[in-house]
């Protein structure tokens, strides 16, 4: 974003060097914890940013109005930003990032500081951008967001890129086994599976290797159980991340012990 400069090397976006200012016409950027001129209203700040994209006055007005509606700030558009909450500022930030319909959108922690409703709205906007064929790159600490939204994920631990790929690929879709959730009739008979199951309320939960699944079904059928769900146990992105962190720590500890 031309905020810091490389000590060496370079980077390209859309085939153009990042030092080329014209490429910024095709990029949208939301900084982490965005701040805007607090003496302006949301409408004014968006209109101001729109001016740098060479839109006509009519175009600007239409775009700004549309964008305010999209991010749910229409009713607050005449209020100065100094009276906005953090979540509202985040929406203004998102609006200014996508106002000019950029091909590439870079969002730094787009969901931080938002309530559950706001997070969902941001998620919807990101998915909409994706549907429109735009590339969205965003950073997050909430790994479930990444898992839910991303086609490709890069994991950075300790400042180093530790893995890039589809979320599934990254975690080597290797099933950890299956989990069955079931309920039993009032007077349960004893059967081998029950010994392995954990009870929560009315429900029983049991984890077993995939190969034993059909045998388990037979036992449950015989006992007259009602199966609520059968799920494949997959590692989450969070587990993948934690494994990397653990590995890092172990390595650091090893280095410390060996005195290197």
């Amino acid at each position: 974003m031309r905020l810091i400069f490389p000590t060496s090397g370079g980077a390209r976006i859309l085939g153009k060097s990042i030092n080329d200012v014209s490429v910024h016409g095709s990029i949208g950027y939301l900084p982490e914890q965005p701040y805007f001129y607090d003496y302006l209203t949301a409408h004014e700040v968006l209109d101001y940013f729109a001016r740098f994209h060479g839109l006509t006055a009519n175009d600007r007005r239409a775009r700004v109005e549309g964008m305010l509606k999209k991010v749910g700030l229409e009713s607050a558009k005449k209020i100065q930003l100094r009276k906005y909450s953090k979540g509202m500022l985040q929406r203004v930030g998102l609006a200014q990032a996508i106002l000019h319909r950029p091909q590439v959108v870079v969002l730094d922690e787009p969901m931080s500081g938002l309530d559950p409703l706001g997070r969902r709205e941001v998620r919807d906007i990101i998915l909409e951008l994706k549907r429109e064929g735009r590339t969205v790159l965003f950073s997050t600490h909430v790994l479930s967001d990444a898992e839910m939204l991303c086609d490709r994920v890069g994991v950075i631990v300790g400042g180093k890129l530790r893995g890039v790929g589809m979320p599934g690929e990254l975690m080597e879709i290797k099933s950890h086994g299956m989990e069955i959730l079931f309920e039993l009739p009032n007077e349960p008979s004893n059967f081998p599976l029950l010994a392995k199951a954990a009870r929560t309320g009315e429900r029983y939960r049991v984890q077993l290797p995939e190969a034993e699944l059909y045998d388990a079904f037979d036992q449950l059928k015989a006992a007259g159980a009602r199966i609520s769900s059968v799920t494949q146990l997959k590692p989450t992105l969070e587990e993948f991340f934690m494994n990397l962190v653990e590995a890092d720590r172990a390595q650091a500890a090893a280095v410390e012990v060996s005195g290197k």
């Binding site: 974003m1 200012v21 014209s22 910024h24 900084p31 701040y35 001129y37 302006l40 740098f52 994209h53």
Partner: protein, 258 residues
């Protein structure tokens, strides 16, 4: 051009909304007070007092705004991180800088114009009607404005590589030194060795010479200002300001914003 205009307009709007123009109330009160007071003392010096007080106030208030707002132009945007979203737009850093400069100079021009009107109103109230020679006040005001533009450029330059506090200190320091730049040139040091004298003279040509913009004495007494003086001051201010802004742009374009 479009980008510079957008930044300039926003800078002007910021100044207005931050109530910078409220200083005009102070100036108005000062002028009214002076007009009332002068009416009670000797008739002969009424004009002198009003004009010199008015021009001094225009200059001092202007310098105050130029230094403090000039330093804040860029540093505030960096502190508040408002710059981050802006620089992601297709806008060069020098365009941003120039827009900020133009915006503040525009603010100062409007402010100075309003104060000049106040000065004429005070003058009219003590010696109606006004004389043609009173038009020279406009020349003095024009030169003050040139001086203010140069100060803004200096403040901008310093704020690009140092903290706001130091930038204010440097700007004020350079302004005060610049007031004596002409004297440095003609200094006849009795005990100075020739190399020191040469060094002092050399420095005096690098310093912004703010004496170039001072026509207070003739204007207060209703005397004219030679056109060549105004012309020279204009060219000097334009060149010096352009060089300082180019330096500021060069520094700012390389600065890492973390």
């Amino acid at each position: 051009m479009r980008n510079i205009r957008a930044v300039a307009a926003n800078t002007f709007r910021e100044a207005v909304r931050d109530r910078v123009l409220y200083n005009l109330v102070f100036f108005a009160l000062l002028m009214m007070g002076a007009a009332i007071l002068v009416g009670q003392i000797s008739i002969g010096i009424q004009q002198d007092v009003i004009v010199s007080l008015g021009l001094s106030a225009i200059s001092i208030i202007g310098i105050f705004i130029a230094v403090f707002l000039g330093v804040a132009l860029v540093s505030k945007e960096m502190d508040k991180r408002t710059l981050y979203s802006l620089l992601a737009k297709p806008v060069h850093r020098w365009e941003f800088l120039l827009g900020k400069f133009v915006g503040l100079v525009l603010t100062l021009a409007v402010n100075t114009a309003a104060m000049t009107l106040g000065l004429y109103a005070a003058l009219w109230s003590v010696k109606r009607p006004l004389e043609p020679a009173d038009a020279y006040i406009l020349v003095a005001v024009y030169l003050i404005l040139l001086k203010l533009a140069l100060i803004v450029a200096l403040a901008l330059l310093f704020s690009c590589f140092t903290s706001p506090f130091l930038a204010i200190l440097f700007t004020v320091g350079l302004y005060v030194t610049g007031l004596f730049a002409g004297d440095l040139r003609t200094v006849r040091g009795l005990r100075m060795d020739p190399s020191t004298l040469q060094f002092t003279r050399g420095i005096s040509y690098l310093l912004p010479n703010f004496q170039n913009f001072d026509v207070m004495a003739p204007v207060v007494h209703g005397q004219g200002v030679p056109a060549s003086f105004v012309w020279n001051a204009t060219v000097y201010a334009l060149l010096y300001t352009a060089i300082v802004l180019a330096g500021a742009a060069a520094v700012f374009s390389r600065r890492n914003l973390k």
